[in-house]
């Protein structure tokens, strides 16, 4: 398969993820969309690493995966913490800060 095929899939995945963050209201779904974006990036890194025959892209993927895992931990902790005090995590109702 040509490089462009991988890049197209990666670009489409990234766009779906970005759209998800922008239109969805539930932080959990927004969060999943961000993970989708990160995985789209991983796909493009893998494709480049393969076609350039260079290991740096693969190492980058490992770093991205590790960071994404750490982000899951922190993000879910914050979401749980808000849910405990509000029992509702819709972002439209998180509006005490504005101006």
């Amino acid at each position: 398969m040509p490089l462009s095929a991988f890049l197209t899939v990666s670009g489409v995945l990234f766009a779906i993820g970005a759209l998800g963050v922008l239109v969805r209201k539930n932080p959990l779904i927004m969060f999943m969309s961000i993970e989708l974006m990160l995985n789209a990036v991983n796909l493009s890194f893998m494709a480049f690493a393969h076609f350039l025959d260079s290991a740096q892209g693969w190492i980058f993927v490992f770093l991205t995966l590790t960071v994404a895992a750490a982000e899951v931990v922190v993000g879910l902790a914050i979401i749980v913490s808000i849910f405990r005090s509000r029992t509702n995590i819709d972002v439209d109702e998180l509006n005490s800060l504005k101006g």
């Binding site: 961000i34 260079s54 770093l63 960071v67 750490a70 982000e71 993000g75 800060l97």
Partner: protein, 547 residues
């Protein structure tokens, strides 16, 4: 290529020596974790002392690392060049000041999990130092995430305060969103150049100008734009600044003070490395975009600051405006401009942490009470605190001979010399607009009567040293009588029982806040004395970057 030659790299002692400052901060993190186990509840304030000692020792090690020859370490992943060391110094200074403000603030705001707070604050400083020292896109990303992850938690640390939880969530979602853009940009640039090392990308682009007009050109340009989006978000440049006021207002004020400075230092140094150095040859493509973003950021940041009634939020918008001035230096993209960027970051660190420091002392126990009305008559109620705030605000406004004036002068001078005269003129006009809202706070402090009923509470006891500096700074202001009745009446108004334990804690810890304020005031006022060696070091560091 990959299959034939298995890659091995063994770090030498020299590699480890070059990350000595980072290692010392890491050691301080471990020491803090251990001390947290040993210290009983109520004495956790000493954890700040552990962190401050770590920051000071790490700061001293910068001098040693500076004397080492060569800079690149760990297969070029990290560099300990002058720019990295300068940035590390600024970050460590900010960390030290933020730590000094923390114990009394945490006690007053009744924030639990004090141990985690200090550990995370130092870890985020470690991430900032790593990002500023990064010489490879991978290290940029890891450093960025390290500082961000710690800050997400710090923002949301007061678990009973919904505003902080909201700030943490907003920061988390929007910042990871921006990280994804940054990362995609990095991926495409890697695809276009086959390299992730910042000097390697620059070398490849310098050698293959022709090839870029064919296949790989679009990849590079899309990558560049995506990275710019990510960076603009991180430095809170317009139009990606919307999160800044909310997060800065909701987060605990010590965290706001530290992150407003530290993330800017790290992100701007990384931005300078990636755009000014690695993408130097593509200058014609990114320069107009950064030019426009800088103009927008300066104008919108200053205009929105004018409309704010809350000082904490006003300072948040002012940090947007300051990002605009720093972007002027990036757009100019000369060695002199990068040096002025470093100098500005140093001056900004001192004056901004100082301004947030006074704000957090005025803040009430419920995390509110930082509106303009709460500053009314502060000059009479606590002359030392008001004088310190006046110094920081004059510096932020750019009044000579403060640090802020010198910083603005260097940035705009570099822009004038570097063929960015319109940008410099817009910047100067924007900072004149900025004077209005900074000086409005000064006006409220000295020329408005204290609003009855909403006077700020829990002002720290006046420190003789601070009063002396305040008096010196303020010239003719005379010592005002001690005002214990404010303390007593405001405590009564809040219906908080006066506990002797609490009071003694406050007296002891407010000494550290006063020390931080004295240091910040002294640096803001006296930076003019050591401006030329500082600027000379920044100039040398920046020119080394370009070779």
């Amino acid at each position: 290529m990959l299959a034939q030659s298995p890659f091995t790299y063994t770090p030498t002692g020299g590699d480890w020596l070059r990350i000595l400052p980072e290692l010392i901060v890491l050691a301080a993190v471990f020491a803090t974790l251990l001390a947290d186990l040993a210290l009983p509840e109520g004495r956790k304030g000493w954890l700040a002392a552990v962190g401050v000692v770590g920051a000071i020792v790490s700061g001293c090690s910068l001098v040693y690392v500076n004397s080492l020859s060569g800079a690149s370490a760990f297969f070029g992943m990290i560099t300990s060049d002058g720019v990295a060391l300068f940035a590390a110094g600024v970050i460590l200074l900010s960390l030290g000041l933020a730590l000094l403000f923390s114990p009394s603030y945490l006690a007053r705001q009744k924030i639990a999990r004090v141990g985690e707070y200090y550990v995370l604050l130092q870890l985020s400083a470690l991430g900032m130092m790593l990002m500023a020292a990064a010489n490879n896109l991978m290290t940029v990303f890891v450093g960025l995430e390290m500082l961000s992850l710690a800050l997400y938690i710090l923002c949301a640390l007061p678990q009973t305060r919904l505003r902080s939880q909201e700030a943490g969530m907003k920061y988390f979602i929007l910042s990871s969103f921006a990280s994804a853009f940054l990362l995609y940009g990095m991926s495409l640039i890697y695809g276009a150049t086959g390299a992730t090392g910042i000097p390697d990308i620059g070398r490849f682009l310098g050698a293959h100008q022709a090839a870029l007009s064919q296949g790989f050109g679009p990849l590079l340009f899309v990558g560049m734009s995506l990275m710019l989006v990510g960076f603009c978000f991180k430095v809170s440049a317009v139009p990606f600044q919307a999160w800044t006021p909310d997060v800065y207002t909701g987060a605990p004020t010590t965290v706001t003070a530290f992150m407003s400075v530290g993330t800017k230092v790290a992100a701007f140094v990384a931005l300078a490395r990636v755009f000014v150095i690695a993408l130097q040859t593509q200058n014609a493509h990114w320069e107009p975009v950064i030019w426009a973003v800088a103009v927008l950021t300066m104008i919108v940041g200053n205009l929105l600051s004018v409309t704010q009634r809350d000082v904490k939020r006003m300072l948040a918008y002012s940090s947007v405006a300051n990002a605009g001035y720093l972007l002027v230096a990036i757009a100019t993209a000369s060695p002199r401009a990068v040096a002025s960027l470093l100098f500005y970051l140093a001056a900004y660190a001192v004056m901004n942490i100082g301004a947030f420091g006074v704000t957090l002392l005025v803040e009430r126990r419920d995390g509110r009470g930082t509106t303009l009305e709460d500053f009314n008559g502060l000059g009479r109620r606590n002359p030392a605190l008001a004088a310190a705030m006046a110094v920081f605000l004059f510096s932020l406004a750019g009044v000579p001979p403060t640090a802020g004036f010198l910083a603005k002068y260097f940035v705009f001078y570099a822009a004038m010399v570097g063929n960015q005269v319109p940008l410099a003129i817009i910047g100067i006009l924007a900072s004149v607009l900025g004077m209005f809202y900074y000086l409005r706070v000064v006006w409220a402090m000295y020329f408005v009567e204290p609003t009855p009923g909403v006077r700020p509470v829990a002002l720290p006891e006046r420190e003789p040293a601070l009063a002396a500096v305040g008096a010196a700074a303020n010239g003719a202001r005379e010592e005002a009588p001690e005002s214990p009745e404010i303390e007593a009446s405001s405590l009564a108004a809040q219906a908080i029982p006066v506990e002797s334990v609490l009071t003694s804690v406050r007296i002891r810890t407010s000494a550290s806040s006063a020390a931080a304020l004295v240091i910040a005031v002294a640096l803001t006022l006296l930076m003019i004395l050591f401006a030329s060696p500082l600027d000379a070091y920044a100039q040398a560091a920046a020119s080394a970057l370009f070779h």
